[in-house]
Symmetry: C2
Subunit: 442 residues, 2 copies
């Protein structure tokens, strides 16, 4: 047993970013586990040297400039935990790769937006760039996709990748309270940032999805191609109606393989059938569901953020480097190139704009004036667009309200056709505001 | 992308065992995916050369003797898919290791019973022995434990590891039919073997658990230490009562870390609380739940058997070998030896016989004559043993029956104390037969 670790090459770390994850990592190096036996810390860097921290950094060399730390000859592995898609994080990672050093990072924004360039730099300098911690925290999903399923053709990857949104939706569902109220509480509790935009807009989940799609489908990440929709418009009525229909609402990140290996990527609130493994992922948990051939469906669930899970993932990457493992930055099972997609497997649909997309059932919520004939006009309008209604909910109006929400779900249709019909709702004078549209996932 | 695979060292496989998994693997080598680019087949071996198979083996060199194939100079990786803990499988694996060749196997019985000896042989000859396919089919749980959680201290691993038992229990629960009926159907459908003993006795799940415990806690497998209990005694009444109480019954395989790194290992029917991730693993699915520090709880779910999932795992091991990855046979995160268990983590209880064990709630079902005073005598007997009842169920007797089942659950207690009380039930003349005892898992 001892042999396994003691035979490994010791690694000297340079750690940039000393927040909760950096603190967790220093704890693992200072502890009694495997990381303590193969890693030492050559130097650290952060915005503020003097800030009070849970871990004692006084024994480590201090670097004001993370770029200097990244390129320092005493550093074998540069660990980037600063965050941010540009600025010091990017400069420091590039400096480390140029120096041929291995880099381990938890920075999803950096990789999602500059992954292709960093992949090229790593290849040019023979450096390893590892990022297990960037997606789904402690869940070793990158390893599962890239190594565990290396002989598989992946057809789809979906999941709940943002714990803040999942916590907010779970709390709204549990308590019936409105988005703004629950968000304010989440901010007070430290579950949401002071500026929550990156989370609630879906951008953070989109960064992670672009990375998963890159490793699943062997491309480089293409964050610009991810269709993003946030959770701000979801109301307690939506959550209650979804539950009545046998669904839960989750911010679902989903990438499917199309012909030519191009993925359709979207992050949007979605009605998930209660029997789907994602439906019961509540609170701050993350989950990833992988559909692949020949393995079938695989579901991985765990904690998506926090010092412990993220430090666990960073440490695993460091231990893999100590074992001498090498893997390309993104190419995964995805060594299935466009020409080698198995003939027998469903190659999905041609990549096409989000607005067309594949056939799906949809949930539509709109608000209408509470007067006779409105339902008839709406259902007639949908019928003229050849759209069939699968379920229809109208509750009695609340006291004093002169309008009511109407909820319907469609039979499978193209979203473009549905959107075309909804555009005509604007001409129905009883319809108030715009309709909310969400896909259903069975 | 192509570079990732084409740079790898080509590997020549010798495949012994040409059942469904062997056929699935040959399909992957003959296909268009990564395995087809790095692997060729030097020879095959099976019991019968002439038997009709879905794959064409006429172009491969045939070996009547798997040992000769294992040692053949044209074989880089010996793939053992014959099964059986002794006999040809063991001889062939040992021959390959002695020749310094890498071995990939799906043989849980061989590894669970002779793992320590094989580990020593692999180490002595510098050979790799990989076995991802031996546990939970397509779920890359060995990789998750050994690499993904390499910096963690694992405190417990549990799961549903036998698809046949899970299918039978799910069908009994769904239809209310008896064990024997559902088993007979499962045999007709090919979900259970003609001789189902290995599955329904818990031995197959026990083999797998011993392997997971070895990698989680860094020992060698110790199948003899696994406490085994099968599902034969479970009745539709048990499943119905469990559901009423908010639980499902699963054949739970569970290993916990005790002081000194020794694991408590058991496979037994267990009431799983409906909110536990295992509770909803139905039909032939497998699932593994890992509790570890600092990552927290991780749940992996997928298909546990069959040609596709198992071939996927075998192929991943072969691709890891092609990448030059090396890992000890069993040591995992487990490089946490006895002395390095984190002081802050819960080190569990001292290893002790199954009959004592840690505190747990228990389910007890007994059959009693339907006459006055019986309940009073039983509850009094439990009270004299200081055992508190948490719930108690007695349904009206069925027509014509002169006895009724009584179900109770206890508050947390030691199983030894409960067993001592139950032993005294034999002296209560109204009690018929022996009581069934199952632990509760929250």
């Amino acid at each position: 047993v001892e042999r396994a670790v003691s035979d490994l090459k010791p690694l000297r770390l340079g750690i940039a970013g000393l927040g909760t994850v950096g603190g967790g990592l220093i704890g693992l190096v200072a502890g009694s586990g495997p990381l303590s036996r193969i890693a030492t810390i050559s130097g650290v860097s952060a915005r503020s040297r003097g800030r009070s921290r849970e871990v004692d950094i006084s024994s480590f060399a201090w670097f004001d400039d993370p770029v200097a730390l990244a390129a320092h000859p005493d550093v074998d592995v540069f660990v980037e935990l600063m965050g941010g898609s540009d600025g010091p994080a990017r400069l420091a990672v590039e400096a480390a790769l140029r120096a041929g050093k291995s880099v381990v990072t938890a920075n999803k924004a950096l990789l999602a937006e500059h992954g292709a360039a960093l992949q090229a730099q790593a290849a040019a300098h023979g450096a390893q760039l590892r990022w297990e911690a960037a997606v789904a925290g402690g869940i070793p999903v990158v390893k599962a996709l890239r190594e565990g399923l290396s002989a598989n053709a992946i057809s789809a990857v979906c999941g709940v990748l943002n714990g803040t949104c999942n916590y907010i939706l779970t709390e709204m569902d549990r308590t019936g309270r409105a988005f703004g109220d629950v968000l304010a509480d989440a901010q007070r509790l430290g579950y949401a940032e002071a500026d929550p935009t990156l989370d609630v807009s879906g951008a953070d989940a989109g960064h992670k999805l672009a990375l998963l799609a890159a490793v699943a489908f062997s491309g480089a990440p293409d964050f610009g191609a991810v269709c993003l929709e946030g959770i701000e418009a979801i109301t307690p009525t939506d959550l209650e109606s979804a539950r009545f229909l046998g669904y839960r609402i989750k911010l679902l990140a989903k990438a499917t393989r199309g012909a030519g290996g191009i993925a359709l990527q979207s992050v949007r609130p979605t009605l998930i059938h209660q029997d789907h493994p994602i439906a019961r992922i509540d609170g701050p948990l993350n989950a990833v569901v992988i559909d692949a051939e020949p393995v079938g469906r695989l579901t991985l669930t765990g904690r998506g953020a926090g010092a412990g899970p993220t430090a666990s993932a960073v440490a695993a990457d460091i231990l893999d480097l100590a074992h001498g493992d090498t893997r390309p930055v993104f190419a995964g099972p995805g060594s299935y190139g466009p020409d080698s997609w198995p003939a027998g497997a469903d190659a999905g649909t041609q990549a096409e704009p989000h607005s067309t997309g594949p056939l799906s059932r949809f949930y539509v919520r709109l608000r209408v004036a509470d007067r006779p004939g409105v339902i008839a006009r709406i259902t007639d309008l949908l019928a003229r667009h050849q759209l069939s209604i699968e379920s229809f909910l109208q509750k009695p109006p609340e006291a004093m309200a002169d309008s009511v929400p109407i909820i319907l779900t469609t039979q499978p249709c193209h979203e473009t056709d549905l959107r075309a019909a909804i555009a005509e709702f604007a001409g129905v004078d009883a319809v108030i505001g715009t309709a909310l549209v969400m896909p259903l996932e069975l």
